[in-house]
Each structure stands twice: as C-alpha cells, then as structure tokens.
C-alpha cells in the first residue's frame, strides 16, 4: 500500500532485537491490534473463531488472539498483519460492536527465554502483579516504570509487553536495563 515507508516505534526501518543472557527482546511492529467493545444489548461475537476470554484472560488461535481489557472490552491482535486495515476486518466479523484501530497506538516488545524462570525474574523487577495475573494464558494492563503497559503472557517462555507507541524508547530502555542486570546476576 502507499508509497510511504513506515518506521518502527523505535524509529528504525526494521525491528530491533537484542539478547541478554537467557533473555531475548524483540520489537514487534508487525502485530495488528484493534479494540472491540460490546454495545448495549449486543451478543458476544466470536471474531475469527476466537472465544473472547473473561477478565484477565488471553485466548488465541494460530493467527489471531484476543485479550480482555475491561468489562465488555477486548483487544484483538493478529501477528504479521500490521500493514492491513485490521480494524476494518474485525469490524466485519464483529457485528454490533465498536471497533477502533489500535495497531499504531502501541509499541510491542516480545520477551522470550528458554524457560519460565528468567522471564519471571525479569518481570518481578518490572511490574507489581500477583503471579497468577501473569501466568501463561493471562493478560492485563498495568504500570511499568510509570508507563501504562499491556502485558500478555502467551506461554511459559514468551511475554509481550505493549507500551504507548510514543513511549517505545523508554520501554526498551527499561527492559534493556533490567535484562542486562539479570544477565550479569
């Protein structure tokens, strides 16, 4: 589409990635996001075949995932689809819902590790959440170094954090600093 070239939230042509000991941080500019809110009296849709999860939940299929963001509200995401009009697609499969484009509202960073332990040692330095709120299959909004973030625990070994796109550099800096310290300790 368009003859303009996009920049990632960290201001480059390509996604940034870095390794610190067992931890790998990867910018994820490819993830498309759209919010979905039920209108009064509307039935809960099942967009892309997803079962919309309950409070604190994250559910996903091969291509799509959805996580709960508030009463009657979810965020739906699709990896590798940032360049499409994902909100329009979602709108088409979520009748009776308010859908808002969110892809560019957020800067996503994947944090992966070979096991749960290094990930959890990192997150305990970053966010103040009971462990069950960040167990695999859970997602939540919280605060990290004064930044609002969305935290999605896909699995034991993978967590995605989204900060406001404008705060991408601050998010990366916070994660990098913390991951570096974990790597040396």
């Amino acid at each position: 589409m368009a003859d303009l070239r996009p920049l990632t939230a960290l201001g480059a042509d390509t996604a940034r990635s870095a390794r610190f000991g067992a931890l790998t941080l990867t910018e994820r500019p490819d993830i498309a996001l759209a919010s979905l809110a039920l209108r009064a009296g509307a039935a809960e849709p099942a967009p892309f075949g997803l079962t919309l999860p309950g409070p604190g939940g994250l559910s996903g299929s091969q291509d799509h995932a959805a996580f709960w963001t508030g009463a009657g509200q979810w965020m739906v995401l699709a990896e590798g689809r940032a360049e499409t009009d994902f909100a329009a697609e979602l709108r088409a499969v979520a009748p009776g819902c308010s859908v808002t484009e969110q892809t560019d509202g957020w800067a996503g960073v994947d944090i992966t590790a070979p096991g749960a332990d290094p990930l959890e040692r990192l997150t305990e330095r970053l966010v103040n959440l009971p462990p069950e709120a960040l167990a695999p299959g859970r997602a939540t909004r919280t605060v990290l170094h004064h930044m609002p973030v969305l935290a999605l625990r896909h699995s034991d070994t993978r967590l995605t954090l989204f900060a406001m796109r404008s705060a991408a550099a601050s998010l990366w800096h916070a994660l990098e600093t913390s991951a570096q310290r974990q790597a040396v300790s």
């Binding site: 009463a71 103040n128 069950e132 939540t140």
Partner: protein
C-alpha cells in the same frame, strides 16, 4: 494497599486513582429551584467519616473500571468492592 477488584482480584492500589465519596454517583437533577443548592451539596459536602466509607476508585492502570470500594478510614481495612456501573444502574433503577 490492595484493592479487591471484583473482576481481577487483589491489585495494588497504585494502579488506581482515587476520587472520593461514592455519593458522587448520585448526581442531582439539574431542574428546579433547588438545583444549584443541590449541586453545591453534591460537589462540596462529601462524606468524610472516621470509619466505614464508600468511595470511588478508578482502575486507571488496569481495566479502566470505576469501583465503589468500602473501606474503613481509621484502619484502611477494605470490606468490599463493586463495579460502580452496577451500583449506578441500581441507583437509577431505584430512583425510577
């Protein structure tokens, strides 16, 4: 403090923003002679008990829900929390 979020369980109060007396749910009618006086009471004369207080907290760094939290201002003990939208709807239902 920990706020017992009715949907998300215990969450650190740092995720929340405090507003105050839950009587703010009961906005007066703008109609009629006494409207101005009723609004002045509504805005300025809030409950300030030394004891159990029903108050509004906003889960700003969370699910963006407003909660009515019942808390003892002498001990900070929290006795319960509900979604404010539910309380507000019930209030409106009762008024009608």
């Amino acid at each position: 403090m920990l706020i017992p979020h009715p949907l998300l369980g215990l969450r650190d109060a740092q995720e929340f923003t405090y507003l105050g007396d839950a009587a703010l749910l009961d906005r007066p009618s703008p109609e009629g002679e006494g409207a101005e006086a009723a609004f002045c009471d509504y805005v300025f004369l809030r409950g300030n008990p030394a004891g159990v207080h029903r108050e509004l907290w906003f889960h700003e760094q969370g699910d963006r829900s407003w909660l009515v939290v019942t808390r003892n201002t002498l001990t900070h003990e929290i006795l319960g929390a509900e979604l404010a939208s539910k309380v507000a709807k019930a209030l409106k239902g009762a008024a009608e």
